[in-house]
Symmetry: C2
Subunit: 612 residues, 2 copies
C-alpha cells in the first residue's frame, strides 16, 4: 500500500512538512496550494527536496468551481488551469484534483459538467497528466460520489477519473457500497479522513474537525474494503483539516497519520501486524514524588504495606492486594522523550505524577513488537545488572508503559528486583487492611494537541476502545475527558485534557484503586484526616436525585462517598487529599457498573480546589 | 432596569462569582445548580454572602424534564421539586425555572403539561414562590415561546408564568413580535444571550458559543423592545454558556456583561448614555521599542521626519503627512492594568509593540464620559506640568486610547508637548517623500479569552462596527482576525487572536500606513533593504487568478506588492521587515476597496517567518 499525506494536515513550513512526512515513512505527499504559494522554495526546489527525501508528489488541487461554470467563468477557469498545469509540470505532479463546484451560479447540467471536465482532461493529457473529480459533501449540485462517477463515466476520457474522500462520503451518511462498482482504474485517487460525530454543518465540520482514521467515529475501514473490491491500487492519502493539527508538532502528527493507516490496513486488509496482546490489568503504577513521607502516610492509611525497596534505585514497592504502587524519588526511567514540553497543569519542569504504568500482559514481547510495528518508541531500559528484563514503550503523553508478568509460576517477575523489607527489624507493623484489592483505573493528563494521538495509540497498540468523550466542568474551565478500556474491562484508562485557567492546580492525574469495602476504606482515610471533604450540598442534591433510603444517604454523607449508578449497577467512590504529588481515588463497583462517575467529577474538581 | 447574571456565565468558585457580579454592579444573580452543589458554602452562607454584597438571588433551575412526564417520573419529579423548593427557601430564592422537557418519553399533551405545571405552581405557592416555564430551542415537544405561553395560559395559576430566553427564541429564527402580546405580569423572568451565527445544532451552539448581547449576531435589542412593550419590568439576566468565559477572569467577564446590558438598554430603550463621539482617524500610534536606531531607519526610508522630542520623556514624534508615530523607549503611560498577563505571542514581560493609540475626536471629553459610563478604566495620566491635558482609557488588551484634537485652530494640541528639532543644527536632512499620507489601520494582538470583550468595547465605546471574523492560516496555526471600523471608515482597527504553536514570533501587531503612491513607497523600502520579500510563487498564483496585463504583473512582482480586489476597487499592500519590535504595513486603496487584503495574510505571515 502506497501512503500519502496532504501537506495541509501538518504544521510548519512546506520544507518542514516534507521532512516530517518523509521521517514518518510516507511514500508521497499532496501539495496543498496555499503551502506552495507561501513558500520561498521554487517549484523545482520543492520537487527536488521531495525526491531527495524519497517522496513522490501525488496530487495538486488548484482549481475551484470548475465544472458547471457559465461560459465566461469557464474561459477564466481554463486560463487558470493552463497556468496551474504548467506549474504542476515544474513540480512533477501528474494528477490534478477537481472538487465539485459550490458557486451559486453553477449550472445544474450534468452534460455541461461532463463536457467541461472532458475539455480539462484533454488539456491535462497534453501534459501527460490526469484529472480526478471529487464530489464535495457541500457541492452545489454534485455532492455524492455516485453522481461524480456518473459525470466522469459520461465524459468518458482516459485522463479523467474520480477521487474518493471518505469524509465527503461518510459525513453525509452515503452508502459506500457502490464504490465497489466503479472500475478500479477509474478511481484515480483516494483520500481518507475520519471525524467525530458532531452536530454541525458538513463544511464547518470538515474544515475544523477532521482527524486521522481511527480517531473519529466513521467506519473508514469499511469504506476502504469497497475501495479494495473496486480494484484500486493507488495511494491512500490523508487529507486532514484540523485546528489542533495546525498547531501540533509536525513530526508527531505525521507519525500519528502513518500509525492510523497501519491500523486501518489491518482492519480492512488483514495486513500482517503483530496481533494485539491484550492487557489483563495493571501490574503497577509508578508515581514520581520528591519525597516519600506524605505518600507513605497515605498508602499506609489505605492498608498498603511497603514490601520492597530497590537495591540500586530510590524506588519503593507498596502493595495492597493486587494493587502495587512504586514510589520513585529519583529520575524516572525512560519518561519524557526529548523535546516534550511539560503537560499543562503539571508542575513546571516536573515529571508527570504518574510516570510509568506496568501492564499485566501474558506475552510482553508480543506487545512490544506490536507497539514497535505501530511506530511507538521502545524505551531504552536503564536497569541494574541483576534486574529482571522488562520492556517498555512510551505513550504519547510520555508515560512509560511496561509490559509485565507479575509472579507468574516458573517465570521471573519484576517484583524480584525489590529486596523484601518485611523481615527487617525496623519494618513497621503491617497496617490494618482497608479493602483495597487492585488498581481500577488510572487517569492521565494529556498535553495540548495530543489527545487524539493518545486515543489512536491506545486503540491501536493496546486494543483499548474509547468511550464517548465527556466535558467535565472545572470551576475555572473544562476538562476534556475520555475513558478507554479493553473490551472485557480488564484494563481501564481515562485521558484528560485541561482547558482550564485560574489558579494552577498540581494534580491532574491520579490512580484509582478498587476497594471491596469502600466504607471501610473511607473510615480509615477519615481517621487519618486524608479524605477529600465533599460539600454537604452534594448530599442534599443526591437525596433529591435518588431515593436510597435515609440510612444509606446518611452513611454516604458521613463517609464523604460520591455515588453514581447506571442501568447495570452502582458506583461508590472517594478521593484522598493530595499527598505531595500523589492523588488517589478509591472506587467500588456494585453490579455491572461500567462508568467512572463522570457526573461527580466537577464536584470532585471543585472540592480539590477547596483544599488548595 | 434591574440586572442579573447567571453564575454559570462566570469562572471560579461560587464565592468568587458572587464577588465578581457585585463588583461589576449587577443587582442580582441566578444561582446555577452545579455551582451550588460543588460549593463548600451552605445555602444560608450563600444567601448571606450575596446579601452582604448587595445581590439578590433571582432564580434557580434545579428541575429537568418536568412537564409532560409519564406518571411514575412525574411522582419522582414532585419528590425532587419538594427537596429543591425547601433548598430555595434556605437560599431565599423565590422563582424556580422549568425548561421544557427533552426526554424521549415526554408525552405530547399540552393539557397534561399544563396540569403538571399547575401542580408544581401550587407546591411553589405554598412556599410563597413562583414557577417560570421556558421553551428550550431543543425541547422535545415545546420548543417555541408561544407554545410555552399557551400552556401557561391554559394552566392559569397565579404562581405560574413564562421565562423568555433570547437565545432559545432567536437561534431558531422565531419571530419575537408575539412577546408583546403576553401580559407583562405573566412574564416572570427574561434571560438575554447573544451568539455568533454558526452552522451547528442549537444544543451544541447554545452550550458552547453563547455570548453577551452585542458580541454576536442576534438582534437582542429588537427582542428587548417587545419585552418592554409587553410591560415586563423584572430583571434582565445574562445566562451565557461559553467555553472561553469558563476560563476567563471572572471580574473582567462580569464587567463585560454589565457593559453589554448598558449598550443594549441604550439601543432598546434609548437609555441616557453619553452619545458616541465618533473617531475621525488616528492622531498617532505610539510604539514601544527598546531603542530607536532600527525604527528610525525604517521610518526615514518611509519618508518620516523626526519633528519633535518630548522634553521630559524618552519619546520622539515622527511625521509623514498626517501619519504620526511616537517612538517610546521608556515606560509607556498607563499600559497594562495590574494583573494583566502578557498577551500571547508578545515578548515575555514586554509591553505591546503598539502601546497607545491617539484617536482624533472632535469632543475628547464626551468620548471619555461615554467610556467611563461604559465601565472602561480611565487612565491616570502621568504628565509633565506643562503638557497639554490629554485623556485616555484602557482598551481590554491594555492599549491606551488617547482622545485628541491635533492642531485644531485655536486649541492646544498634544503635538505642542514636543520640542521641535527641525531647526537644530544636527537635524538630519528631511528624507525624500515616500507617499505616506496617514495611518490606515492598526492591528492589535488580543490576549486569550478577551476577543469578544474587545469587540464589545470598541462597538460600545467608540461606535465601531465589526466585519465578519476571518481565520488566517499561519504556518503553525490559525490567527483569528476581525476588522472593526466606524460606519464611514474613518477609523479602522483589526483585532487578532493567535492560536499558533511552533517557533515564537515577536510581531503580532502592526501599524498600517496609507500611501498615495505605493510603488514609490516600495522602491524606497527596497532601496533601503527593508521590504519584506514575497515568494515568487505568490506572483505565479496571482497571474493565474487575475489577468492584470503583463506590465502590471511584472511591477507587482518586482516591487513585492500584494494585491487584492473586491467589487468596489483594488488594494495594494506591502510589509516591512520588522525593525526591532516595530512592524509596518503600507497600503494603497484604489476605488472604494473596503477590506484589508485578508486573503494575502497567510502569505505575509509565512513570509515573516522566512525572515525570522
Amino acid at each position: 500500500m502506497r501512503t500519502s499525506i496532504a501537506t495541509v494536515s501538518l504544521s510548519g513550513t512546506l520544507a518542514e512538512k516534507l521532512d516530517a512526512a518523509a521521517a514518518a515513512g510516507f511514500d508521497g505527499v499532496e501539495i496543498f496550494e496555499n503551502d506552495l504559494v507561501a513558500s520561498p522554495l521554487s517549484p523545482e526546489e520543492v520537487r527536488d527536496r521531495a525526491a531527495a527525501a524519497g517522496l513522490t508528489l501525488d496530487l495538486y488541487q488548484p482549481l475551484r468551481d470548475f465544472e458547471g461554470a457559465p461560459p465566461e467563468r469557464f474561459a477564466a477557469n481554463l486560463r487558470r488551469a493552463e497556468h496551474k498545469l504548467r506549474l504542476m509540470a515544474r513540480l512533477g505532479i501528474s494528477c490534478v484534483l477537481v472538487c465539485s463546484s459550490v458557486a451559486a451560479d453553477t449550472v445544474a447540467d450534468d452534460d455541461l459538467a461532463a463536457e467541461q471536465l472532458r475539455t480539462l482532461a484533454g488539456r491535462a493529457a497534453a501534459y501527460g497528466m490526469t484529472v480526478a473529480y471529487e464530489a464535495l459533501a457541500w457541492g452545489r449540485h454534485v455532492d455524492d460520489y455516485r453522481h461524480a462517477w456518473r459525470i466522469v463515466a459520461a465524459a468518458d476520457h482516459p485522463a479523467l477519473g474520480v477521487c474518493l474522500d471518505s469524509f465527503h462520503i461518510l459525513s453525509r451518511g452515503a452508502d459506500p457500497a457502490a464504490i465497489a462498482d466503479i472500475p478500479g482504474e477509474k478511481i484515480f485517487f483516494v483520500q481518507l479522513a475520519d471525524a467525530p460525530r458532531l452536530p454541525m454543518g458538513v463544511l464547518h465540520w470538515s474544515r475544523h474537525h477532521r482527524c486521522f482514521p481511527g480517531q473519529g467515529d466513521f467506519d473508514v475501514a469499511g469504506l476502504l474494503g469497497y475501495v479494495r473490491r473496486a480494484g484500486y491500487a493507488g495511494p491512500l492519502s490523508l487529507e486532514i483539516f484540523n485546528d489542533e493539527f495546525r498547531q501540533a508538532d509536525a513530526r508527531r502528527t505525521a507519525v500519528d497519520g502513518r500509525r492510523s493507516l497501519l491500523v486501518l490496513e489491518e482492519a480492512a486488509d488483514g495486513a500482517p501486524l503483530p496481533p494485539v496482546a491484550p492487557p489483563e490489568g495493571y501490574a503497577f503504577a509508578e508515581l514520581s514524588t520528591p519525597d516519600t513521607a506524605a505518600p507513605a502516610r497515605l498508602l499506609t492509611a489505605l492498608g498498603f504495606t511497603r514490601t520492597g525497596v530497590h537495591p540500586g534505585k530510590p524506588v519503593e514497592l507498596w502493595e495492597a492486594g493486587r494493587a502495587r504502587i512504586l514510589l520513585n524519588t529519583g529520575a524516572v526511567d525512560g519518561v519524557a522523550t526529548p523535546g516534550d514540553s511539560t503537560p499543562p497543569g503539571l508542575p513546571a519542569g516536573g515529571a508527570p505524577d504518574v510516570a510509568a504504568l506496568g501492564l499485566e500482559i501474558a506475552e510482553p514481547d508480543a506487545a512490544v513488537e506490536r507497539a514497535r510495528a505501530l511506530l511507538s518508541p521502545v524505551l531504552p531500559r536503564r536497569r541494574a545488572a541483576r534486574d529482571v528484563p522488562l520492556r517498555a514503550v512510551a505513550a504519547p503523553d510520555g508515560t512509560a508503559l511496561f509490559f509485565c508478568r507479575t509472579r507468574a509460576p516458573g517465570a521471573p517477575s519484576w517484583t524480584d528486583d525489590f529486596t523484601g523489607v518485611l523481615d527487617d527489624a525496623d519494618a513497621p507493623e503491617p497496617p490494618a487492611p482497608a479493602g483495597i484489592t487492585a488498581i481500577d483505573h488510572v487517569a492521565l493528563a494529556q498535553p495540548s494537541h495530543r489527545f487524539d494521538t493518545a486515543v489512536l495509540f491506545h486503540r491501536g497498540v493496546l486494543g483499548l476502545r474509547p468511550a464517548e468523550p465527556y466535558d467535565v466542568p472545572d470551576p475555572y474551565g473544562l476538562l476534556r475527558s475520555r475513558a478507554m478500556a479493553t473490551p472485557d474491562g480488564a484494563l481501564r484508562l481515562v485521558l484528560n485534557e485541561s482547558h482550564v485557567g485560574g489558579p494552577a492546580q498540581p494534580n491532574r492525574q491520579h490512580v484509582a484503586l478498587a476497594s471491596d469495602d469502600i466504607e471501610l476504606t473511607a473510615r480509615r482515610l477519615r481517621a487519618a484526616g486524608l479524605a477529600l471533604p465533599i460539600p454537604d450540598n452534594y448530599y442534599d442534591d443526591l437525596e433529591a436525585r435518588y431515593d436510597l433510603g435515609p440510612d444509606r444517604h446518611r452513611r454516604l454523607r458521613e463517609l464523604g462517598l460520591l455515588y453514581d449508578r447506571d442501568g447495570d449497577g452502582e458506583f461508590l467512590h472517594l478521593y484522598t487529599v493530595p499527598a505531595g504529588h500523589v492523588l488517589i481515588e478509591v472506587v467500588q463497583r456494585l453490579g455491572g457498573y461500567r462508568g467512572y462517575g463522570m457526573g461527580n467529577a466537577s464536584v470532585r474538581l471543585a472540592a480539590q480546589r477547596n483544599v488548595g
